[in-house]
Symmetry: C3
Subunit: 430 residues, 3 copies
């Protein structure tokens, strides 16, 4: 058991891709079943109509079939062909309309004439079809027959949760959402990275912090989740991350938490620095975003950021049928998993040390702490980390603060701190 | 009653221009009479010889006539022609001097040969004449007759004050000075802007904060004013501004208060940002400045900055006869008034809100808080402000802090906060 | 008695240059004797084997003669010719080796083929010779006779200390080291600057702060010194400096203390600013440095920086025979002394003043505080300093903070503060 290979990610992707996911309903449940082959999720259900924080849980949506048939008998916007064709949460409808009247129910993107837009209407009852602008313009005038075989009925919003226990108090949260139908970067990439991360972390003999993996519906799902465990997270959460837009070919991006310099932010940004990869730092905004809008609402104000590749809304394929398999790369997906694992390493390594011999430098020679193995560059790198660790181990700097001030890699500092601790020169601050 | 139009400002300017103002005396009183047609100033008098803070109030100066007459009988430096010709506070003198001896009493600017300099000697008894260097160089040698018909006698320094009451505790101060003779930018522009501001704010049905408008003599006037109300201002003043150099054609400038980031500074700088106009930010200095040197003396340390156009000493016409009507523009004067009104808006809008529904985002749909009226850009701007307002309404951020962090316009935030408050989602922090 | 002239520095240099200094032994003692002609050092001895902080004092090293003789009878690496030829602290050895076996004891720099490297092995018993790579490559094959007439025996590490008492509590530390053999910038320059500084400061009728001058061995010397007076310094030290690399032709550099903005840092950086000379600011690092590594160890964390010219390791001549007399300039050495004296001036001038007349500006005319002597530029500079001093004398800003915020020179502020204090307008904050 370990992180999924690009090939494994692709196989998983291919199985999940066609399922008609939404914030509730069979597509969501079927997708979850597939992921449960890899992750032992526990499902928490929030019944339709129940109050969660300020929200009321909506009904479940069961889309079965939907299309429009033109005057020439040709079928358009067939849900069976592409589940983006049906406006999410469309109410059932059967009837006939002239094209002119039908237009009010059609959605397309004149500026991206080949793309089918992804649209939903979860809380305002509506029906509609999404199609490419090119197709829309070629619809012949006349009478159209509309079929939407869907059902809205009481059910539940599901939060799926898996927990890997840790050795010490404190938790790390990974949250993604499974409510988007056939789109690749936003948003099969998030559940795929979450699954792979779970596999990699579960494979370890132990973890410092308890890791929580949460998969649900965007917004209403995290509202439900916070209603249940928000108070717990306020006490226990050390760092959390929203996994979204993880698979495109762009460089990594990190959107800061509301606090702006919380542990999640510091660990993520230093891990990215140490990887030496180009990356962008995006300030927190509540005006555009995913579930961090809930986690970082002022009442919770949790230490939650988001490590992505190209952020939602910044790629033109966003929320259209062009966000498909060809838009993403499974190597990039796997790289995002690696980046998250590096962040976990940083969090696990982040201890506060105290130099037991703080008056002057300790005499290292008799303790056998000078190394000559390795290239001169390696020795210098190790020694640099050693001097910084001894100097900043004052009980005030955590390892990330040492890494930030010294410029030394987190891994180098962690290694030397362990060595110095073995030699009795550092002790962990109580 | 509202802000003065450029034409009204010009008419007022033309009436005030010729009067021989100084820190005391008839020119000051007559100028004040004209402004009192528009502003119900209350005059506070500080008698000659009385102690005000560390200062002693000087005598009043009554210049009546002054000139020098050359050996050829030609009259030079006639106070009746340009009141800058007479050194301010010149002691009376009648006598004859050779040109060589007269030179010690003449002041000109070799590097600006066409400009008459503006000079004064309030506290050291002296007499003298100011003239253009070109004229000075053409004075024929020989005997000159000097006439200075002036009088220094006990009287008073006058502070004129008008107060517009506000609904809540706290005050805003606007201070300018009326002691400069025939100069336009420095300094008829200040009293003109102050008058127009008074008219605009008085026209409102109500104001949040009490507004104080003060007009006096530079330095000694603000010393007198602070001696009387300084202790009150230390308790009540939220923000204050020195109005000077408000009429030239340059862009706006803001000189920070001594504190550097007080409410006056924050409101002024964000209002300027929101106007989208080019502007310069000038750090506080006590070494060069107007009455903010008194307001920002370390004992008072009041939240007082100065919103200007081109700052004193930075335009070559400064303190010369070239700072005249043609140097200023009444459109720019009116624009400065608008800028000050925008600052007042920012101050009035600056409340601290608390989100009543801070755990997760509130469900806005059922509350009818999503808007679709307006262009997509307008809707986006409103929604952006809404998300920021909800997120930062934690009882810690005032509206200006929200505006600074979010980049949203103060006006947009103020509007949405009012709307959210109506919906019960925000309450003002007590 | 005053600072040494470039010529005096050169004479002293020439006497010290040939002595075979190390961290202990006769070369160190003889060098100290020469400096004691100018500075009344008190010697503190730390006996071999005694525990100092975490360290144990090593034996004394007495090198008497050393060379290798080739198969052709030619003598190489003669210690009498250049004391860098013998690896510092080489154990005694007499014997014969083939060139191939001898190679393990030879040290050279292939990338600087004409330079003899400077190497030591204080704590690991070894013998060896340093030579230019060019000479090494020309050594003929065959049998070599090796002679190292040295002795390691119990003795002491010496810290030399001279103290100039001051009038007020608080101390300034100047520390350098005398343990390097024939090298000029690193490190005869440090003891030379320290000696000159002592002379200059001793010549003064009085000093504000007690000045301590310490000369010893790098690392072990400062460890010994801190073992003796570290606790005292933690209470009394206001600012300290490590003197090293003071004589090359490069511009000045300042390496900050661990604290980063302590009084030593602020005084040094503002003194450099006021000198108007190009200079570099180097952040603190414990990974590369001299005795500040001990002074700035986390237990002591003393306010100690280092004002240098070109920092160790940044000039290719560093720790080789190329760091010789021609590499340094005695004018630059004297300039470094001047820079240190400017820092002392800044420290001595650094008082906290309180304006006795803080409400409004004081009326300066009646107090005779306006000056007209001097050029307009001088008058303006003085007046600018005066306004800033009055404004910032709030009991919170020390003089260095005034200098930093105002941009005024420390000397100008100190002069005007003294004048304002004489006039009763400032009093020193108790």
């Amino acid at each position: 058991m370990s992180a999924l290979s690009p090939h494994e990610l692709e196989c998983l992707f291919d199985r999940l891709w066609p399922l008609p996911r939404s914030i509730t309903g069979p597509g969501f449940r079927e997708s979850l079943c597939i992921l449960e082959e890899l992750v032992p999720f526990v499902r928490h259900e929030h019944k339709t109509g129940s109050q969660v924080l300020d929200w009321r849980v909506p009904q479940e949506w069961h889309p079965r079939a939907a299309w429009i048939e033109g005057p020439d008998g040709q079928r358009h916007c067939d849900f069976a062909v592409n589940n983006l064709h049906l406006l999410g949460y469309s109410t059932p409808f059967r009837g006939e309309l002239d094209l002119a009247d039908l237009q009010a129910h059609l959605y397309s993107l004149p500026e991206q004439p080949d793309a089918i837009p992804y649209l939903t209407s979860y809380y305002a009852p509506r029906w509609g079809f999404c199609l490419s602008h090119r197709e829309r313009e070629q619809l012949p005038p006349g009478r159209y027959r509309i079929v939407i075989d869907s059902e809205l009925s009481d059910g539940a919003v599901i939060s799926a949760e898996a927990i890997l226990p840790g050795d010490e108090p404190g938790e790390i949260l990974f949250s993604s959402y499974l409510c988007h139908p056939s789109m690749a970067n936003n948003e099969l990439s998030g559940p795929l990275v979450l699954t792979s991360l779970y596999r990699a972390l579960a494979a370890r003999p132990s973890r410092r912090y308890t890791c929580r993996f949460v998969l649900g519906a965007e917004t209403i799902g995290s509202i439900c989740y916070l209603a249940r465990v928000g108070d717990h997270l306020r006490k226990e959460l050390r760092a959390g991350f929203v996994l979204t837009c993880c698979g495109d070919r762009g460089h990594l991006s990190y959107k800061r938490s509301r606090r702006g310099d919380c542990l999640a932010d510091r660990a993520a940004l230093l891990a990215l620095r140490d990887r030496g990869c180009e990356h962008e730092v995006i300030p927190f905004t509540p005006a555009l975003g995913s579930d961090e809008r809930q986690f970082c609402s002022p009442g919770f104000d949790l230490p939650v950021g988001s490590l992505m590749r190209t952020m939602y809304t910044r790629f033109p394929e966003y929320h259209t049928s062009l966000d498909n398999k060809s838009f993403i790369s499974f190597e990039h997906l796997a790289d995002t998993v690696e980046a998250y694992l590096a962040v976990v390493e940083a969090l696990e390594a982040n201890r506060v040390w105290r130099n037991t011999c703080p008056f002057g430098e300790p005499q290292l020679g008799p303790r056998g702490l000078f190394r000559s193995l390795g290239s001169q560059k390696e020795v210098e790198r190790r020694d640099t980390a050693m001097w910084w660790a001894l100097n900043l181990a004052d009980g005030q700097h955590d390892l990330l603060a040492m890494a930030a001030r010294s410029g030394c890699a987190i891994a180098d500092l962690a290694a030397i701190c362990a060595e110095l601790a073995s030699a009795g020169l550092l002790v962990e601050e109580g």
